[in-house]
Amino acid sequence: MSFKIYQVNEDLLDVVPQEIKDLQFRSTFNNPKRGVLDLSYHKELIEEHSLCAGCPESMAFRYILASLPAPEDTIIVNSTGCTSLVFPHIALHTVHSLFGNQNAVASGIKRVLEWRFPDKVKDVVVLAGDGATVDIGLDCTLQSFFRQEKITTICFDNEVYANTGGQESGLTVKGHVFKMAPKGKQWNKVPMWQLAIDSGCHYVARLTVSSPKRVEQVIKKAIYVAREVGPTYVHLYTPCILEIGLNSDDGLDEMRARDKERFAFFEYVTPEAEEVIARVKEEGLL
C-alpha cells in the first residue's frame, strides 16, 4: 500500500498545482469502501479527458475509477482506442503499449509484482475497447484467461472501432452498416461473455453503465475475485454516440433501452468466486 506517494512535501505545497494537491486532500485513497457516491464531492482520479462530449465511455471511466477498492495499489493497463485518450489524465499507474496486447502486458506486470511484493496486494486491471479485446487482441485476451492470470479485464463495448472513425468490429451487431461493412455486417455479434466463461474466467458480468451503483458492485466483485482466484471479465455496453448518430445527451437513454434486451444484466460466478464474494460481503466491502 503506497497511497503515501500522493502526499506532497509540505515545503512544496505552495508551488504545487491545485489539481495535484486536490489528489492528496480531496481524493479517496486508502479506503476500500469508496464508491460512486464519492463522485458528487471528491476529487476524481481522472483529471479531465478528450472524449466526445456526452460519451458514455467517460461515465464508465468515472464509475470504475471511483470503485477500485485500492487505487493506490492498482495498475491499469489499457489499449489503443478512444479510451486511450483518457489514460494520460488518470492519477494512477497506467500503461499503454500496443493495440491489442493489453492482456499480455498485464500478465507480465501482475506476475512480476507478485514476485517482487509477495506480501502486498497489487490489483491489475485491463481496460480496453471491443476491437482491442475481441478482434486484434482476442488471442492475448483468451490466453490470459486460459493461463488463469489474476487480472480483471474490462471491455468497453461500443460495438465499433470508434477511434479510427467508425468501422465494423466483431461486437457490432449483424446487419449494422458501418465503414468496412458497407452492405451491413454479415455475421453475428461475438458472445464474448460466453467465451470468457468457457476460457476459465471466474467472474463474468455483462451490463450497460446506466446504473452507477451496479457498475460499482460488479467492478468490486471482479477485482476481489481476481485477487484471489483467477481471471475475471466485465463486459460494459458504452455506446459510441458519435458513430451511431446520437446527440450528446442521448447516451443514457440508449443504454436504458438496451438494459431491457441485448444488454440485460448477466452475471456468472464459479463456486470459488462465490466464496470470495460472500466473504467480502460479510466484511462489509460490497
Binding site: S50, L51, C52, A53, N163, T164, S248
Partner: protein, 172 residues
C-alpha cells in the same frame, strides 16, 4: 492581398467543421483557376478537442503540404483556442507572416497588449467577428459557424467568385 501564395491556418475545436471549411476554400480556389491544396491537422480529434485545418492557394503549382507553419491568414474558429490554449501552436498566431490577417470568432477582444504589439510590428490585421452569433441569427443554428467564418474570409480576401464558392460547397 496579392501574393504568389496564400497560406491559411484555421485553429478550431473538433466538430466545428474547420476541415470542411478548408476544403471548400481550396475547391473554390481550384475552380477559379488557382492552384490549391487543403488538408486537416493529422489528429484523432474528438468533439470539443483542438482541431486544425489548412489551405494553400497560389498562382504556381503547390508542392508544400502539411500543417501551415508560416501562415498568411489565421482564422480562429472558437474563443477557447485563445482563452484555453486549445491550439496546436502557442501562441496561436505563431509563424504569422508580415502583412497577415487574423479573423477571430468573437465579439470580444481576446488579445493581450503583448500580442497586439507583436502583431502590429508585423503589420498584421486582426478582425473580431462573432460568427457563431451570426450563424444563429441568420441560419438559425450554431452549426453554420464554419459557413459564417468562410464568408468572412472570402469577404476579406475577395479573390474568389461566388460561383466558385458555390462549387466548393457543392463538392463536399
Amino acid at each position: 492581398m496579392m501574393r504568389r501564395r496564400v497560406n491559411l491556418r484555421m485553429p478550431a475545436l473538433g466538430g466545428q467543421g474547420a476541415v470542411t471549411a478548408a476544403h471548400i476554400i481550396a475547391t473554390a480556389a481550384d475552380y477559379e483557376g488557382y492552384y490549391a491544396v487543403s488538408n486537416p491537422f493529422f489528429g484523432a480529434e474528438k468533439r470539443m478537442a483542438p482541431a486544425e485545418s489548412y489551405a494553400r492557394i497560389g498562382i504556381e503549382p503547390i508542392f508544400d503540404r502539411g500543417e501551415v507553419v508560416y501562415p498568411d491568414v489565421i482564422m480562429v474558429f472558437h474563443p477557447q483556442v485563445i482563452t484555453m490554449g486549445k491550439s496546436y501552436t502557442m501562441p496561436f498566431y505563431s509563424g504569422i507572416k508580415k502583412d497577415g490577417l487574423i479573423i477571430i470568432n468573437s465579439d470580444e477582444d481576446l488579445l493581450t497588449e503583448e500580442d497586439k504589439e507583436y502583431l502590429a510590428s508585423l503589420n498584421v490585421k486582426v478582425l473580431n467577428f462573432n460568427a457563431t452569433k451570426f450563424a444563429i441569427d441568420i441560419a438559425g443554428t450554431e452549426l453554420a459557424t464554419n459557413m459564417a467564418m468562410l464568408g468572412a474570409f472570402f469577404g476579406a480576401i475577395g479573390v474568389v467568385s461566388i460561383e466558385a464558392i458555390e462549387e466548393g460547397i457543392k463538392s463536399r
